[in-house]
C-alpha cells in the first residue's frame, strides 16, 4: 500500500462460493482513496483468483444494496453477493 496516498479501511464480507474461494468470511483491508466497489472487487478478484465476474454479483454497502459505482468511505462494510438460492 502506497503511504503517499490517502487510504481507507474497508471491511469485506464474502458469501457462499466467494467465501470458499477467498478462504474467509470477513476481512479488513486498506485501500487507496477514492474507491468504488467495482475497483475493490476487481482488485480482490485478481489477488485471490475469484471466479465470479462483477456482472454475476450484487454489492451491498453497510447492509444495503448499492451500485458498483458508489464512492466508498473509510470503515464501510462492503459485501459481494453471488446469485441467491434461498427457498
Amino acid at each position: 500500500m502506497n503511504t503517499d496516498t490517502a487510504t481507507i479501511f474497508l471491511k469485506i464480507l464474502y458469501f457462499a462460493q466467494l467465501e470458499e474461494e477467498r478462504g474467509c468470511f470477513e476481512e479488513t483491508i486498506e485501500y487507496p482513496f477514492p474507491a468504488s466497489p467495482l475497483e475493490v472487487y476487481q482488485h480482490l478478484r485478481e489477488q485471490h483468483q475469484l471466479q465470479l465476474s462483477p456482472k454475476e454479483l450484487r454489492v451491498a454497502i453497510n447492509d444495503c444494496f448499492s451500485s458498483w459505482e458508489t464512492p466508498l468511505k473509510s470503515h464501510d462494510t462492503l459485501a459481494f453477493l453471488p446469485p441467491v438460492a434461498g427457498g
Binding site: 447492509d63 446469485p83 434461498g86
Partner: protein, 144 residues
Amino acid sequence: MDFSVNKPFLQFRLSEEPVDVMQEMQFLQNPSCGALVTFTGWVRMENEGKQVNSLQYRAYPALAVKEGETLLQEVWESCHPAGISCVHRTGHLQVGDLAVWIGVAAPHRAEAFAACQQVIDQLKQRVPIWKKEFYPGLSSEWIH
C-alpha cells in the same frame, strides 16, 4: 373490526433451529381471517437430476432480514392480507427437513394465495440466502 385499517402482522425471520409450524400458525391467528395459506419448502432428495444427500443454507443475516421485511411490506401493499410470516432456516439440513415456511392470513382466500405465491417467488430472487448441495460421491456445489 375493519381489518384493513389495522396494522398488518409482518414478520420475517432466519432460524438456526427447526421451525415450530404450530407456533408460526398461531402468530397469524386472527378472528377476522377466514383463510390461511402456507408454503413449506422441504429439502428434496434430488435436484436437476442429481441425488442430494443434504444441504447447507448460508444467509447474510442483516441484509436478508431487511430485504425480507421489505418484500413482505411490498406484498402486503399488493394484496392487503392481514398477516404474513416467513421463516427461513440456516445451517445444515437433511432430506425432508423444512427449509422455509411462509404463512399468509387474510379474510378471504384469493389474497392469501396470491400473497403466499408472491413471497416465495420474490424470496428466491432477492433475499441474500445461498444454498450448497451435497451429493453422494461428488463435490458439493453452491447453487445459482
